[in-house]
Amino acid sequence: MAVLKVENVTVTFDTPDGVIDAVSGVSMTVERGETVAIVGESGSGKSQVMMAAMGLLAINGRAEGSVRFGEDEILNAPARRMNLIRGSRIAMIFQEPMTSLDPLYTIESQLTAPLRAHAGLSRAKARARALELLDLVRIPEPARRLKAYPHELSGGQRQRVMIAMALSNSPDLIIADEPTTALDVTIQAEILALLAELQARLETAILFITHDLGLVKAFADRVYVMRAGRVVEEGPTTRVFEAPRSEYTRMLLDAEPDGAKHPPSDDAPLLLEAKGVRVTFPVGDGFLRRPRRFTAVDGVDVALRRGQTIGVVGESGSGKSTLGRALLRLQPSEGRITYAGRDLSDRTPAEMTQLRRELQLVFQDPYGSLSPRMTVGEIVTEGLLIHEPQTGRRARAVRAAEALEAVGLSAVMRNRFPHEFSGGQRQRIAIARAMVLSPSVVVLDEPTSALDRSVQKQVIRLLRDLQTRLALSYVFISHDLAVIRAVADHVLVMKDGRVVEEGATSAVFNAPQTAYTRDLMRAAFDLSSLLKSDETAAPVREA
């Protein structure tokens, strides 16, 4: 019997611009003990279907159709009745482990609250059960962790706590909305392995919402592919991956970044060279006491030649972004950095200004890196205002138009504001801003991480075009190995501020030398084998 049966659900939002259809006529079923994935790019309505089913739509949202949980119709059910179901028979796990736990309460009080509310356990019994749950999700030293506050746990541990919370009342269904997107690949693999194992044991159905086809392939029994509020394809995972019927699914499967970067010729001049870069941050307030220093980057050497792309890979906290900023002297550092033979290490900020036009930076977040109160034209030409102040208003408008066209946007868009653009378009704007000054070195800090795969592919193609056309050198920072493999000809693998492995891309990817790199590769490219091996390798501990 189906645990959850969604029939012909539509979701609309009333906005000042009129009614927006987020979901139009979606039907899906989840059987007992089954893992079903909903996959789609941002804006496909994949999250809204479930939000509607759970009665968690935004205030201006309206849902119609039918959602049956077992025998009960739960769509638009009154809040009082939904509260009995939510958290006890259907549990949800959200994307952000950083924000879905309340920072003011200990893990214990957050874990025991639903137990006492739904199951009516006493304080002592709830505590015992909480301990059991933490052990179940394999948090080390569970007794000590109960007293901890969320900020004392790592991202992966927080997500484990969320899973423990979801499991606390033995639900029939867990809805996991991008549960691992904010986590590093190795931790993602651990969390997925944990979910798979718990599911096998507790026979809970899992509805898994994601944009990542790699996860679906490794994890789900059945898959629904959504696009623009509709299901375009459904079926068993193996069938969908091997013989996709819809054009869109084929496109998604094909959206993995491809191609490879050829290294520049051996006589290409050395542009940017860094030796022994070291960045430390003070920790604590240091009042009446020497502050401890945290070392973010520890003795890294970089040698970037003209036309080269160096990929910097690493998990969060590995110091790769800090390294990028240090290379551009946006972050004070020790060590020697030279650009085209000139020493940058001891230049004052004012002296650096001259060089800034040749050293550019593109950020990860296309939403945060564009000022919301400047038009696109102003954003793109800001560099001209600084480095070529003699350029007149008209000339700037012309340059803005040229730069926008160079990144594949229409010149007439320059009077609009950033929020009117999609993520991919914004990242193009950010690239145009860096390119308008014709730089020679561009540091790209996760430029494609916030984008959908298909958009990612376009942006990578654009960056590649610009590189060949303008003879640019890139330092490409990313946690995404697939992207690095497609764009870089030389790779640095970073961990805890140090380079653990370095070499030509093909060499590093085909024959990784260190255990850490091998782990990364396996988590990124071979998730399904990892999940299977994990189940056998780590037998479930009896709680």
Binding site: P16, D17, L328, L330, M352, T353, Q354, R356, R357, L359, Q360, L361, F363, Q364, D365, G368, S369, L370, S371, P372, R373, M374, T375, G377, E378, E382, G383, L385, I386, H387, R393, R394, R396, A397, A400, A401, S410, A411, V412, M413, R414, N415, F417, H419, A430, R433, L437
Partner: protein
């Protein structure tokens, strides 16, 4: 992207140009803007056009209620005419009022002096008195024109035209409100943005200085300023502004601290923008929404603060006036002459409503995300 062929040749539009376009679409804001402009024009150009100056005293018309018909009213003319001749040692036998003319018949034991007309003329409400003495010289007929004085909003306790006084008050209050707010805004935004942007030790020192100023009883501070530099309207604006910037500085600093970490600020830094350019182009425009809202709260606050100072005798001085002073006056006379409270209060309410709607409209217009 279909309607953009024409726009392709146009110059870039800035935040402000777009804001004005948006503001024009907001009906409440446009109406408010019109109201404010009308009030400002009336306050600046109105008083000279009125028949009565704001300091002219009409002793016969103390606290007369608002009326569209001219004063004196028909029933007031007869007693007023009798009163003029009370000390003239003549016996008034008959008073005939015809339209805006009055004729008074008088008798006397002695011979009547034609200079009797002066008694009548001395009054504010009669003019051009002519005396026709009878042949025996013992009786006379005095004819005089009755003036027509309009007090649309009545008069105050000293017999001064309330309309003229409201317009003059509006002038003072708007001036103080706008100037003090501009002073507070300029100091507060620059100070707060600088402290928040540079951060570290300088920020700590700058904000402690603000805390020290907070600790001063600020009415006392303004009083001191006034005592030292004498009573001067311009000084008042400066004093009030110099006190009110503290909140603004804190608000802007808080916003700056969070903006400072945003990627678009770092992106501009990576482009090589100087600190000044960063503050001017990226920090300040992004604090505008909050600043505009605070500004619309600040204007009424300043107007009220000014009326408090005036009440203490430190603000504007008689015969000049401000809305706060008029309202205080009106409150004192509320039972006998309610209109004395009503009209100045109405003027204040209209002004503040208009300012609020305009502020709301401006905030929305300055936020490109809002539609």
């Amino acid at each position: 992207m279909t309607d953009t062929v024409v726009a392709g040749t146009a110059d870039g539009r800035s935040l402000w140009a777009t804001a004005i376009l948006r503001l024009r679409r907001n009906r409440a804001a446009v109406a408010s803007l019109v109201v404010i402009v009308v009030l400002a024009l009336a306050a600046m150009a109105g008083p000279p056009l009125l028949p009565h100056g704001y300091s002219d005293v009409y002793r016969e018309f103390v606290r007369v209620s608002p009326s569209l018909r001219p004063y004196p009213m028909a029933d007031q003319i007869e007693p007023a005419a009798a009163a003029t001749l009370r000390r003239a040692h003549v016996e008034v036998t008959d008073i005939v009022v015809s339209g805006r003319e009055v004729s008074i018949k008088v008798n006397s034991d002695r011979e009547i002096d034609p200079r009797l007309a002066r008694y009548v003329d001395r009054s504010d409400i009669f003019s051009g008195a002519r005396v026709e003495v009878s042949d025996d010289g013992r009786s006379a007929v005095i004819t005089a024109d009755v003036v027509s004085l309009y007090f649309v909003m009545g008069t105050d306790a000293n017999g001064r035209d309330l309309l003229a006084r409201i317009l003059v008050s509006l002038r003072i209050s708007m001036l103080i409100g706008v100037l003090a707010t501009v002073v507070a805004l300029t100091i507060g935004v620059i100070y707060g943005a600088t402290a928040g942007f540079i951060g570290g030790r300088l920020d700590a020192v700058m904000m402690r200085f603000v805390d020290v100023l907070y600790a001063l009883p600020y009415i006392f501070f303004v009083i001191l300023l006034v005592v030292f530099f004498g009573q001067n309207l311009v000084l008042m604006f400066l004093a009030v502004g110099a006190v009110e910037w503290l909140d603004m500085a804190r608000i802007v600093r808080g916003q700056t601290l969070s903006l400072r970490r945003r990627e678009f600020v770092q992106a501009a830094e990576a482009l090589g923008a100087s600190s000044l350019a960063l503050i001017r182009r990226h920090i300040i425009p992004n604090t505008l929404g909050t600043v505009v809202i605070y500004m619309t709260l600040l204007v009424p606050k300043v107007i009220l603060l000014e009326s408090f100072l005036s009440f203490l005798g430190l603000g504007v001085q008689e015969p000049l006036s401000s809305l706060g002073v008029l309202i205080a006056d009106g409150a004192n006379n509320m039972r006998s002459a309610g209109y004395m409270l009503f009209w100045p209060a109405a003027a204040m309410v209209v002004l503040l409503f208009a300012l609020n709607f305009l502020g709301d409209g401006l905030r929305d217009a300055l936020d490109p995300k809002d539609r």
